[in-house]
Subunit: 345 residues, 2 copies
DNA sequence: AAAAAAATGATGTACGTACCTCAGAAAATC
DNA sequence: GATTTTCTGAGGTACGTACATCATTTTTTT
């Protein structure tokens, strides 16, 4: 009636504990037929390895690494804080997490950094980096070395078998599109889409989703092309100022990447008076303040804490070979307005 | 450099392992001064008990119970499914969860059921029941017996020291209010608020939040009193039909409790043609279908999986005395539209 | 059939903690 | 100061698994 142990398993399979151990830990020296018998017995008695006991015996700590861009913004900041906050709990689970920053825009450096990782005693890596051939190959090398990898926040669709922890960006774009259409009421006008760069796949996916919805409202909403700031505040300012004078008048702005929020001050002067609907991404201290004062109307976000924990869980389950509770790992596209803003920092 | 163990702790405190054990497990027979020295050492060397090892040694399973109303609806159904789904993972964590259904509307029966629990070998209970004096007292009796308790989905603000796992219902109401105002564009008209009963604190809180926002739009939105269905479909139908003929015309409906969704068919006939904005609570197969076909515009929900896991984590941490990672336990007020609907069932 | 090789069993130690018993030390009581 | 009581220490076993060693059995090769 109790939970079956290795002993029960040995008895059920008609072998010794040593053999059970050999099969469970994929050690050499066991005939295929015998191994099969054990595997059969595992199913029959519904044996599940006690991982806490296993880890205890192994006296091993899992070494995980988050590879983050060295570009500093509030979102990355939140991720770092969450990782730090989570590590307290992880002590109980024999997991150590460290953070590595690297230049986001230099694929070769990122790839090199990843290669360095495989040299050290690392068990798993969460990589947040734009998708490039260099990065993709480096990830595949990690796989080859048996190091667990997940793509973090940025998808890596071309690196096969690399699980993605993050939101569905197309759905996020669709959601913004729908909110934009709804929040502008029945008004007619143009919508400005602003992003740091359209190079990234994330931006493209968001834009794609956004267009799919706004197209249905083409009779009253004119959506312009994605304007790129390239991280240049002056350029950004110029774009916004020009757009504010468009005809028909501007009714909405979609800030598609989280790292361009600093242009908000340009909008402030005119925007609030004109009731321009402003929607952006990621809930940060900055966007929180904007939601509260009404200069932004909604924020589409992903729960950073959940993001971090999910990445860690996925890595751990890849390492231990245990399959995760996938319903817990789905990252939701969250809509945050002033009214449903979570309380904490 | 490694994680300190009880042995290290003993050395640091200048006592034996046995004494350390006595202090850690609150066993009798240790002088206050000595105990204090140990506690001091715990802080100094930053000792944290290895709970997996501890649980292993204890060879104990935590017995948890969810007390749910026996009223059958999709929301309760989802909760049950999540509990079942979670239990697989819990096996690894020495936790067993069972479900107990009880009449929701009979406070005495609920209280009696709770009292029965304290008799059996139960370590923690998550209670979903309307707040009544009987239930409150029964909860306090659980506390007295050292059984961990959390209020689940329904708050129990008068049962002291009872942690609440669920959303902030006032914030939920505010969110609906804001969405209602936004989604109705600049249109003028009445808004119908429909609920099963206003008896429950949840309904009152939601209504309160809803009014706080819609009051700002009083120039164009006329919000009627909360209409109660008392679970009677015919009564519900009559209410809705009457409301649909109101002057000024109806522009929105707020379905305030999740258990009244069956009246949607009444709205269907007229609602969609009149572009009535319909907002309700809880994402279920039913509301999913409504969001997809457009007969509902938004759903305010709480992640049921998260709800269940959070309740379990809170109970476990109360039992073991370990404090939880509270940022993980905050239940968000989620806005779901067709565009950001999570994929799974 | 004998020898070599491969597979399996038996047994022990370890991980970090819980829990038990018994002996000895320290404190409180008389 | 002697006695009782209360603390403390020393040591062991257990939990479920990992990992190592060595003896023994079974299979394969010659």
């Amino acid at each position: 009636m109790h939970k079956p142990t290795t002993k029960d398993l040995a008895k059920a399979a008609g072998v010794s504990l040593a053999t059970v151990d050999r099969v469970l830990n994929a050690r050499a020296g066991v005939r295929p037929a015998t191994a099969e018998r054990v595997r059969q017995a595992i199913k029959e008695i519904n044996f599940v390895r006690d991982f806490s006991a296993a880890n205890l015996a192994r006296k091993k700590d899992y070494q995980l690494v988050f590879l983050l861009p060295d570009h500093d913004d509030e979102f990355i900041d939140q991720i770092q804080k969450q990782i730090a906050g989570t590590s307290r709990v992880l002590t109980h689970e024999r997991t150590k997490v460290s953070i590595l920053r690297t230049s986001a825009n230099d694929p070769h450096r990122v790839a090199k950094e990843i290669d360095n990782l495989s040299a050290s005693q690392i068990d798993g890596v969460a990589i947040m980096a734009p998708e490039t051939p260099q990065v993709r190959d480096a990830i595949l090398r990690l796989h080859a070395r048996g190091i667990a990898v997940v793509a973090f926040v940025s998808r890596q669709p071309n690196a096969k078998r690399t699980y993605y922890v993050g939101i569905n960006n197309e759905a996020a774009g669709r959601t913004v599109g729908q909110l934009m259409a709804r929040f502008t009421g029945q008004r007619h006008g143009t919508v400005l889409v602003l992003t740091e760069t359209m190079q990234s796949r994330d931006s493209q996916e968001r834009r794609h989703g956004f267009d799919a919805i706004t197209a249905k409202y083409a009779d009253r909403l004119t959506v312009g092309p994605s304007m790129e700031t390239y991280g240049d505040p002056q350029r950004a300012e110029k774009i916004v100022k020009m757009a504010l004078q468009s005809q028909p008048p501007m009714v909405g702005i979609y800030l598609m990447s989280h790292d361009i929020l600093d242009i908000m001050h340009v909008i402030d002067d005119l925007g609030m008076a004109q009731r321009i609907v402003v929607i952006g991404h990621e809930l940060t201290p900055f966007t929180r303040a904007r939601l509260v004062d009404g200069s932004m109307d909604a924020v589409i976000t992903q729960d950073v804490g959940h993001l971090v924990r999910s990445a860690i869980r996925m890595l751990r389950s890849k390492i231990t070979g245990m399959d995760p509770l996938d319903s817990q790992e789905r990252i939701r596209v969250e809509i945050i307005m002033r009214e449903n803003m979570p309380e904490d920092a």
